[in-house]
């Protein structure tokens, strides 16, 4: 990636003033809060930091968060790709409305999503009420958390895959059909490989969002220690209990993890689309 000066760019004028102004604005907005987390986390030394991370509750929260994020990414990869395929390849009455509907979770506050899930699946919810006699109760269980994360992160996979499918000419599939490939073979050998880049970025985005999800999780999980408490919920709980340093240790680790994911994403999307191996070789 080279930044060639284009016509109308200010490459030749002095950058000092605008750049320092930008940094000045960003300092209190982005950089200082992040720095504060790390400063507080290590204030009592690395020993205390490690100790905070090694409590069973913190350990559980991390493992649970990672597990949910993996599961969410995997499940939404399948459903999201399927949704993208249907929305991209078929024309049917209401296709546009459906396309808007599946993207709605981005626009709705996550707390509202949590509430609506409770109102549907909770013990007095529309469907949940019927499950009570069967002894089933999805809310306030790991399953409920997974459900919330699936809903909240659904649009990311779709958004990453659908543009690729839209760009794929119909003749691409038709070529495979005339050659003799069945619908399934065509999907596996021709369409899916063309979507690789989108699948990867979509999964990474989903994973990252699931890892940090708070609003919907706090409602559907019941915030049960060692049962449904994700890492963000744990941080919040520790803060409320006044254990600022414990909260910060977990927060710093979570932030670090997110950085890693983010850089992975940047590298992957920035280094040229892998759907065109020709260029990367």
């Amino acid at each position: 990636m080279t930044n060639l000066p284009t016509v109308g760019s200010l490459a030749h004028s002095k950058p000092f003033v605008p750049v320092s102004l930008l940094v000045l604005v960003l300092m209190p907005l982005l950089l200082l809060p992040l720095a504060a987390v790390f400063v507080f986390a290590f204030r009592s030394g690395p020993g205390a930091f490690l100790k905070a991370l090694l409590t069973p509750e913190a350990q559980f929260a991390f493992r649970f968060s990672l597990l949910i994020a993996f599961a969410t990414a995997a499940i939404n990869a399948v459903i999201g790709t399927f949704a993208a395929y249907v929305l991209s390849k078929y024309r049917f009455p209401g296709d546009r409305s459906l396309g808007i509907l599946v993207n709605l979770p981005i626009a709705i506050p996550t707390v509202v999503i949590g509430t609506s899930l409770l109102l549907l699946w909770g013990p007095i919810g529309l469907l949940g009420r019927m499950l009570v006699p069967l002894g089933l109760q999805p809310m306030f269980t790991p399953l409920g958390v997974l459900l919330a994360h699936l809903v909240v992160t659904f649009p990311y996979m779709l958004g990453a895959v659908k543009p690729l499918l839209d760009e794929l000419e119909t003749t691409y599939e038709e070529a495979a059909y005339t050659i003799g490939a069945s619908r399934w073979q065509t999907f596996m050998h021709v369409i899916l490989p063309a979507l690789r880049g989108g699948l990867f970025t979509g999964a990474l985005l989903t994973f990252a969002h699931s890892l940090g999800e708070f609003g919907a999780t706090v409602l559907v999980s019941g915030n049960l220690r060692l049962r449904t408490q994700t890492a963000p919920l744990y941080i919040f709980a520790q803060f409320e209990a006044g254990n600022i340093e414990t909260a910060n240790a977990v927060a710093a680790t979570l932030a670090l993890l997110s950085f890693v994911l983010f850089f992975l994403l940047l590298r992957y999307t920035g280094a040229g689309a892998p759907s065109e191996p020709a260029r990367s070789r």
Partner: protein
């Protein structure tokens, strides 16, 4: 037979994009389907490959009826215009894809792949990806991929469309050679004549979904049957004259009509001659070849060994020029010729003779009649009979019943009516449903030259027809008409020219006299130079159509009013007005001239659609 299509039809909505196409290809033939964009040529190919399903008709490949089979089971090789090379596979994987699907062993696959890449001239490119290949190379990969599993037939959809001309010429030659060597039956679709001539064993010309003619390139060029093929393939001059005792007459020139050419005594006859069939000489040729006349050179272009010359000749009695297009306002004949460059030509007094020529098959004019309600059925059918007799046209009488039950009773009524009005020869079609939609569909098919509609047919029908008609529509009112004096309403502008041309053509066939009407706002001072020029050229154009025209200027409050006043006052039989685009009536509705004339006129009104060239 490798490929055998039987009355293959595909509808999009109600509109046939492929219309009753039948075709037989013997083994190893290279067939080129030639047509303009939107003619349905690619759809035919997709129907054969099974990428879309036909509405009726069958596809038989090597004796096996595959009409109901999915594309996977048809074994066709398809090359797409955009190549559709799988981007995540390299060249080797692309070519081997069909073999891998068929579970051929890797060694066998590799052997086959090498052989094919060698054949298409891409040996050693195995490991490249699509992004590393040029358009021509991608096209050859696509060809190798389609040939890998030894397809029954090879189908190529404008394979050279996206390439520049130098590569195109080279690839054409190599495709032809590969096809010869493998002897695979091939259909190639293109809009490029030169490509068709170079590649085809046989060419098929497709237009509006119909396969008009098939034949060897040289036969189609020299002796086309239809006017469309005559003007679509190559350049040439087409003149319409009159068939008279076994000859086609154009002024004093008389050319014998071969016995196998369909024609009718006294009816129209058309002759085609190509530029290279025209003989030019400074002196009057001796009596051995037919002479068109003596004219002057209007255009001369040098093109290597030959020069292309366009000549203008005086108008011939009882002759109308069909091609090339004569500019509005000119009345002479235009003739294109190709002569050797070294031939010195003076620009005046060039004698034009014909070395050889070809008489086209003469289809009869076809009328579509919709009589509407009982009140106008009498006048409508009487006018239709008058027209069909004077034009020597065949007719279809359309009846549309509201529901399925009344179809039969309507059929009986119409049958009686048409016999009673001397239209016994007309074909009767009775359907149930929406009449406007039926009319719209039938006229769009391009089978008809003129629509005749009973005038109190509901406004909905007229509105729909004016929206979509591509052929002139004659709206018949209460008044019976002799169709002897035509009133053409015209104003300067492109659509004004079309009105004169279309009206004039009909007047020529009907042998009616024409009054050209121009309406000016009341009290306006004189005519603008544009209008004056337009009217002068309109009269000349009519003369070129062998029709006498007089100009009438009338002052009136509005154009529609002026037209209606003149129609009553001038003793005319038929009003000709143009239509101003599909959207105009919905925007202006009441203001629209066409609508107001239709609403106010007692006489029949001929509505001329916009010409799309």
């Amino acid at each position: 037979m490798s490929i055998s299509l039987d009355r293959l039809t595909k509808l999009y909505g109600n509109h046939p994009v492929v219309d009753q196409v039948s075709l037989e290809l013997p083994n190893g033939e290279f067939f080129v389907l030639l047509g303009t964009s939107g003619s349905g040529k690619s759809t035919v190919l997709r129907l054969i490959a099974g990428l879309i399903a036909p509405d009726s008709g069958t596809v038989v490949l090597h004796g096996r009826d595959v009409t109901k089979l999915p594309p996977q089971q048809r074994g066709t090789g398809f090359v797409f215009q955009n190549y559709s090379i799988f981007r995540h596979m390299n060249v080797a994987e692309n070519v081997e894809f069909g073999l891998k699907i068929r579970k051929i062993l890797p060694q066998e696959r590799a052997r086959k792949r090498e052989q094919l890449l060698d054949l298409v001239g891409l040996a050693g490119f195995d490991q490249r990806y699509a992004g590393q290949l040029s358009g021509g190379q991608l096209q050859r990969v696509a060809l190798a991929r389609a040939l890998a599993y030894e397809p029954n037939v090879l189908l190529l959809d404008e394979p050279f469309g996206a390439l520049d001309s130098k590569i195109r010429t080279y690839l054409r030659r190599s495709l032809k050679e590969i096809q010869r060597r493998l002897k695979v039956t091939t259909i190639l679709v293109t809009h490029d004549q030169e490509e068709a001539f170079e590649l085809a064993d046989r060419i098929g010309i497709i237009e509006r979904g119909r396969l008009l003619e098939t034949g060897r390139p040289e036969d189609l060029y020299a002796a086309p049957k239809t006017l469309f093929v005559a003007t679509f393939l190559g350049a040439g001059t087409v003149l319409a004259g009159k068939a008279d005792s076994g000859s086609a007459r154009f002024g004093s020139l008389s050319l014998p009509i071969p016995p196998e050419t369909a024609h009718e005594e006294g009816a129209r006859a058309q002759v085609l001659f190509r530029p290279e069939q025209v003989v030019l000489s400074p002196e009057m040729p001796d009596g051995t070849i037919p002479i068109l006349g003596c004219g002057r050179v209007v255009e001369k272009t040098f093109s290597g060994p030959f020069q292309r010359v366009r000549l203008k000749l005086p108008h011939l009695q009882d002759t109308r020029q069909v091609a090339p297009h004569v500019p509005f306002g000119e009345e002479g004949l235009l003739v294109d010729a190709i002569v050797p460059s070294e031939l010195g030509l003076q620009s005046e007094n060039v004698w034009v003779g014909l070395r050889s020529w070809h008489i086209l098959d003469q289809p009869r004019q076809r009328l579509l009649i919709y009589a509407g309600s009982p009140e106008t059925i009498e006048t409508c059918l009487a006018t239709a009979r008058e027209l069909s007799e004077r034009l020597d046209a065949s007719s279809v009488l359309l009846g549309v019943a509201e529901d399925q039950e009344s179809v039969e009773s309507l059929g009986i009524v119409l049958q009686q009516q048409k016999t009673a009005h001397g239209l016994a020869g007309a074909e009767l079609q009775v359907h149930s449903g929406n009449p406007a939609e039926y009319l719209a569909r039938l006229q769009q098919d391009g089978n008809f030259d003129l629509l005749v509609i009973g005038g109190d047919s509901s406004n909905a029908i007229l509105t729909r027809m004016l929206e979509c008609c591509t052929v002139p529509v004659l709206v018949v009112r209460q008044k019976q008409s002799a169709l002897k004096h035509m009133l053409i309403c015209t104003a300067a502008g492109e659509s004004g020219k079309t009105d004169v041309r279309v009206g004039g053509k009909l007047a020529h066939r009907l042998k009616s006299s024409v009054t050209l009407l121009h309406v000016t706002p009341r009290g306006s001072a004189g005519l603008s130079p544009t209008t004056k020029g337009h009217l002068e050229r309109a009269v000349a154009t009519l003369r070129g159509l062998d029709t006498a025209g007089t100009v009438q200027i009338r002052g009136a409050e509005s154009a529609a009013e002026g037209i209606l006043e003149e129609a009553t006052a001038g003793g005319h039989d038929l009003i000709v007005v143009g239509i101003h685009g599909p959207q105009s009536h919905s925007i202006f509705h009441v203001e629209d001239i066409t609508f107001r004339v239709l609403a106010g006129a007692q006489l029949p009104v001929l509505v001329v659609p916009i010409e799309d060239e």
